[in-house]
Amino acid sequence: MYSPHTAADREAMLRAIGAASLNELVAQIPADLRADGFDWPTALAAPELLAHARALAAKNRPLACFAGGGARDRFVPAAVKALTQRGEFLTAYTPYQAEASQGTLQAIYEFQSSVCALYGMDAANASLYDGATALAEAVGAAARIAGRKKILLPESLHPEWRVVLATYFAAKGEPTLETVPCPTGRLEPDELARRLDETVAAVVVATPNFFGLLEDGAGIAALAHAHGALVVAVADPVSLGLLEAPGVWGADFAVGEGQGLGNALNYGGPYLGLFACKKAHVRHVPGRICGMTADADGKRGFVLTLQAREQHIRRERAASNVCSNEALCALAATIHLALLGPAGLREVAELSVDKAHRLAAKLGAVPGFRLRFAGPFFDEFALECPVPAERVRNALLKDGILAGIPLGGYDPAWKNVLLVGATEQRTDEEIDRYAAALGRLAR
């Protein structure tokens, strides 16, 4: 359909090749391995294809989104979309030929720099698949560096991310993962201290954590370091418009889900794995890294660098198997951050915090509902419901509200817990509508 060849083209080309027919070229596929047809729908012409897609898209329901859990409904400036859709970015490959790819390369360098600035780190890569896989890579690197096998994961880390880590390391059997219970919703120093010993390679700490709560990063880092363990921080990059950078409070690695920086919700992907670390660990970074250099005339330029870590050079001895990453999402994040700047990012963070707190106050005031945990939270919070949270979520759909994520699917103990968040996108009207709907439910 998208091939330009006319019958005349094909003939001329076959003649040039010296082949009698296309079949002759395909002959190396043994006849008994050829497909003899398959079940396939009729083709849709261009207008029908669009109409079909529109009809499908219309089967999804637009909702005022109070769900988070690592996927946030954040404002994406129109310029982000317009620029990332430029063919020069959209249709380029990984910048193997640096001289013909300076646009992509410089943008990656700016991306890495922005990530370092947010997380207070020295080095970052060109992106990974998403936050969860970035964490898996960081944990793997930390274990290699520390030469130890055990990783401590707090229960306050996203449960899906914990499953991803378990999946990643199940076959290899190492590093081993130990979950630290968080009955207060946060990683308690005592609980951690009890588990720290010379087998622990790294402690993972998410702040804001899965429940939206702020952890004592500095305290945890000090504890971990005292036992020779590395610290891997997980942080929402938007929160870092306001909160202290992990690199400052002592993290050795920092990862995050970057979707909220200029990327749409997309039902879960493509998202953006952010990965950063202190200088000492740069040669353990997985995936692409762009570095600054100069050309034959001394003119500044950028190249993919430290490729000796990578699979295409090192094969089975590579630091990771990552090849394609999420470059276009990273570009969106880079442009997004440049558009917002430190002041804009702070505004987004402050608005989200403010709205989440005002929402929490209203929801917590509905009879039967209360915040599950005490302590400062960022822009998400765990709401304890008098009934299964899934029922609450389903009931509010008819008000056009996605009330949050019911946590019972992750842990039966959380059956009545709804994870609720607000971003800069939520209006006062929507917040009030949510509270009112919950109020009606309580009656």
Binding site: S3, H5, I17, A19, L25, V26, L33, R34, D39, A43, L44, A53, A57, A58, K59, C65, A67, G68, A71, D73, E88, L90, T91, P95, A100, G103, Q106, A117, T133, E160, V164, L214, L242, L265, N266, G269, P270, G291, M292, T293, A296, R300, V303, T305, L306, Q307, E316, N321, A327, L331, I335, L340, P342, A343, E347, V353, L397, L402, G409, E424
Partner: protein, 479 residues
């Protein structure tokens, strides 16, 4: 300093603003403890919106891309990225749906994922697919974890080794190691195919899986694939097919018929989703019925036209990432596939094969093919420095940039000396290929007449040859 374009941070002016937001009712200090707040704002650029638009527009223009230049990158299938796919994936209904939305609110997306899975099954003959892997390498890793789970389920703990071809993509061995396996490399024969005898020798009770790329990275079909499959199965091992090169087989052959147990496809290659300068991709993994239960969650199920996302499946290896996968990419692939009927799908493969052979035939006298027989979707040629005043493949590649073509993949597969791996794809016209052939022939002539000019290439690009060694020696990776 001499530079192409300042960095965004170098264009930053304190206090300058781009996009603004409303003011919060209360400042953060009202809600958060002082100690949690950062002391210094992150060092991000402060620019006007216009500055940002101009900056990235100008940056973009320093790139070659498919929309402006032929991009004959072997193994990458840089085919036209239809704009209809972009329009469809960006439809609000799809793009604005939260992955935590209940099934009832996401029926459209779930239906697309389900239909796409069925279509991939139809194309490959396999029983089931997961759309969760975010790229080809991620798919490989998924497949390796499935293999491990399979052997574990059979309480067969001896299977610690994975066999890969010496022509394989680097991600194959790297993924195997990530899964905790030892890697053993099996040599190819002079005709570019895996050496079946060597494979049989290598196979044993320790073999968990054989990983094979079909067509292989020389653009050749593994004619003995059935024998390979039988040998692997006889030894109790699985056969994995790296299907990144599926463009050559689309509609022509079904890997399930080859005896393949697990395979990954690259939607961002075969199915026309754009590469975006390095991603996002999508690397769905397909398996036989026997292995279906090991697929990662979530999976989409259908009943009476209603679609549900299943997150708990006994036997599943778990989750390869958060949520359901690179759904936006899957949407584009779905749109692409729906634009074709069975016959045109087959013509995609045929035209891709035609184009590769056309280039091969026109260049084989100057750049000898690694294996001199008809190829499938790509051809691997060689530069012969000894006949070309020492001009190497790298020099030829850089000089091609001057001629207005992106360079082929070079120095891969590793088993071919001075390799130039050309994959034109079916969306390039004869005229473009003619121009490309003419450019390579001209470079060959220039290498004989004026080798220094070739060695110093590129000359016409925004920068001259960049010093990669210096970059690696003293890494500067952030401002």
């Amino acid at each position: 300093m001499n530079l192409l374009e300042k960095l965004s941070i170098e264009k930053s002016v304190p206090g300058r603003r781009g996009v603004r937001f409303a003011q919060p009712a209360q400042p953060a200090a009202a809600w958060l403890p002082e100690t949690a707040l950062r002391k210094t704002p992150p060092r991000l650029p402060e620019m006007s919106e216009f500055d940002v638009v101009r900056h990235y527009t100008r940056l973009s223009r320093l790139n070659y891309c498919l929309d402006t230049h032929l991009y004959p990158l072997g193994s990458c299938t840089m085919k036209y990225n239809p704009r209809a796919n972009e329009e469809i994936a960006a439809l609000d209904g799809f793009a604005a749906t939260h992955p935590g939305a209940p099934d009832a609110a996401a029926q459209g997306t779930l239906e697309v994922l389900w239909r796409l899975e069925r279509m991939l099954c139809a194309l490959t003959g396999l029983a089931a697919f997961t759309l969760q892997p975010a790229a080809g390498a991620h798919g490989e890793f998924t497949g390796i974890l499935i293999a491990a789970a399979y052997h574990r389920s059979r309480r067969d703990r001896r299977r610690t080794e994975i066999l890969v071809a010496d022509s394989s993509h680097g991600t194959n061995p790297a993924s195997a190691v990530l899964g905790g396996f030892a890697v053993k490399t099996v040599a190819s024969r002079p005709d570019g195919r895996l050496d079946l005898d060597a494979l049989k020798t290598a196979l044993g009770p320790q073999t968990a899986m054989v990983m094979l790329t079909v067509p292989n990275t020389l653009g050749l079909f593994e004619r003995q694939i059935r024998e390979i499959a039988d040998a692997a199965h006889a030894a109790g091992a699985l056969l994995y097919m790296d299907g990144a090169n599926f463009n050559a087989l689309m509609g022509l052959a079904k890997p399930a018929d080859f005896g393949v147990d697990i395979l990954h496809l690259n939607l961002h290659k075969s199915f026309s989703t754009p590469h975006g300068g390095g991603g996002p991709g999508s690397g769905p993994v397909g398996v036989t019925a026997a292995l279906e239960k090991f697929l990662p969650v979530p999976r989409v199920a259908e009943k009476n036209g209603r679609f549900t996302l299943r997150t708990k499946i006994r036997g599943s290896i778990g989750r390869m990432r958060s949520w359901a996968g690179n759904v936006g990419v899957a949407l584009k692939a779905y749109a692409y596939l729906r634009a074709h009927d069975a016959a045109t799908l087959r013509s995609i493969a045929e035209n891709a094969i035609l184009n590769a052979n056309y280039v091969r035939a026109q260049l084989r006298d100057l750049f000898p093919p690694a294996v001199d027989e008809p190829c499938l979707h790509e051809c691997v040629l060689r530069t012969e420095p000894e006949k070309l005043n020492g001009i190497k493949t790298l020099d030829v590649a850089k000089r091609l940039l001057d001629a207005g073509f992106y360079a082929p993949t070079i120095y891969f597969p590793l088993i071919v000396h001075e390799a130039l791996m050309v994959e034109p794809t079916e969306t390039e016209s004869k005229e473009t290929l003619d121009a490309f052939v003419a450019a390579l022939r001209a470079i060959h002539a220039e290498a004989l007449a004026d080798p220094d000019r070739v060695r110093a290439a590129p000359h016409e690009l925004p920068v001259r040859r960049l010093d990669e060694l210096a970059a690696a020696r003293n890494p500067n990776v952030a401002w």
